[in-house]
């Protein structure tokens, strides 16, 4: 089974994302910021990560840069999922090694589509 880590400081978003991902057949774990997510990756590297940008403690872009430095940190497919939708944010995310980018708000069709573009399958 493909293991997903949902990283978002909003409990509501985590809950919605979990529900959608479980419906698509993924196993889902949650983290509430970048620091929490690093810990989660150190204990079990997920196959894919849905990543918010603005979070306390450590934001999404700092997290993905740190992740990509780690042994095996190149492996997870990372899909940003954020309200930040301008050119410079997207460029920075791609440069840091993000695989796909979703603008909030999003729906199930978009999520399914974007995961398949990122090469993530349940």
């Amino acid at each position: 089974m493909t293991n997903f880590l949902v990283v978002d400081d909003s409990g509501v978003i985590r809950k919605i994302a979990r529900k959608m991902l479980e419906e698509l057949g993924f196993a889902v774990a949650e983290a509430c910021d970048g620091v929490d997510a690093i810990k989660a990756c150190e204990s079990a590297m997920p196959d894919a990560i849905l990543l918010d940008w603005n979070m306390p403690n450590m934001d999404g872009i700092t997290f993905i840069r740190a992740l990509r430095e780690k042994p095996e940190g190149e492996a997870p497919k990372v899909v940003f999922c954020t309200t930040e939708s301008d050119f410079s944010h997207i460029s920075a995310a791609l440069e840091a090694g993000a695989n796909e980018y979703i603008f909030k708000p999003f729906d199930m069709d978009t999520l399914r589509d974007k995961l398949s573009m990122a090469g993530v399958a349940a």
């Binding site: 939708s85 301008d86 050119f87 997207i90 460029s91 791609l94 993000a98 796909e100 980018y101 979703i102 603008f103 708000p105 999003f106 069709d109 978009t110 589509d113 974007k114 573009m117």
Partner: protein, 278 residues
């Protein structure tokens, strides 16, 4: 809703566009026409339909018909047609050179022809000596206006479009995204009704006619196939939507189970290619 007014409108709609509304679906008419009724100064959709029957105003009628078209679409819809296009049409064109002409025959808000243009930009440098012409047409003026402008919301650009393509082919435009000029200028936009004679557009190597025949009855579909047949070169390809086919409607085209959605002219020498990836 007055049945007589509704029937009158449904008859006009079908005669002009081929689109059929089922009498059971008066809620569809109700929801699609609510805005037009308001902006045309009518109290309700019922009033609008009565006016269309008793005191017709061509501009209002056209707006109402436009509002009845279903414009749902997305970039690279179903992916396979675009794989077919690359493998079966564009790459082989390298040997022949010259101009490849493609017609997106119900282009809605432009996602289909823009997908073709994006694909072309990605393969063109492998194909020196080949030129591409894209003709994009639709019945709906509202759709064509949006398609020509090439401006899409954040929601629309993520439907079907990988982020790398968004960054390569679009520019930010306030909260929206605008297709880059070179891509917009590579497409010729024109209003065209599939029921009308298309001869003036010339002949094409590939015709995309996807997700529109489903709204037509058999006789209308057959007529549209005749029209398309006349515009397709003898060695050309017709591409239909995932849920559409020619069976029981026309003898003019034949498909092949191994390449779903792809059709060639019956009785002519165009080889039916193997399925992409097969």
């Amino acid at each position: 809703m007055n049945p007589q007014d509704l029937t009158h409108f449904a008859t006009l709609l079908k005669a002009r566009t081929g689109i059929e509304v089922d009498a059971q679906k008066d809620y569809l008419v109700q929801s699609r026409l609510a805005t037009i009724a308001g902006t045309a100064g009518h109290e309700s959709v019922d009033d609008l339909l009565r006016a269309i029957r008793t005191a017709p105003d061509e501009r209002v009628l056209e707006a109402a018909i436009d509002a009845m078209t279903t414009n749902e679409t997305l970039f690279f819809r179903d992916q396979t047609p675009f794989d077919h296009l690359r493998k079966i049409v564009l790459e082989p064109a390298r040997r022949k050179g010259g101009t490849v002409r493609i017609w997106s025959a119900a282009c809605s808000t432009g996602q289909e022809p823009y997908s073709i243009a994006m694909l072309w930009e990605e393969v063109a440098h492998h194909l020196p000596g080949v030129r591409l012409e894209i003709m994009a047409t639709d019945y709906s003026n509202a759709c064509l206006t949006k398609a020509r402008a090439g401006i899409y919301s954040a929601f629309e650009v993520q439907r079907g479009l990988p982020v790398q393509k968004l960054m390569k082919h679009f520019e930010p435009d306030g909260p929206n995204w605008r297709v880059k000029d070179n891509l917009r200028q590579s497409i010729t936009w024109r209003r065209h009704n599939l029921l009308d004679n298309p001869a003036a557009m010339g002949r094409f190597d590939v015709i995309f006619c996807r997700n529109v025949l489903i709204y037509f009855d058999r006789a209308t579909r057959s007529k549209v196939f005749d029209n398309l047949n006349g515009q397709l070169k003898d060695d050309g390809y017709l591409i239909l939507g995932a849920s559409e086919n020619v069976m029981g409607v026309t003898e003019r085209f034949r498909g092949d189970a191994s390449s779903p959605g792809l059709y060639v002219k019956t009785g002519l020498a165009a080889p039916m290619p193997r399925a992409v990836g097969a």
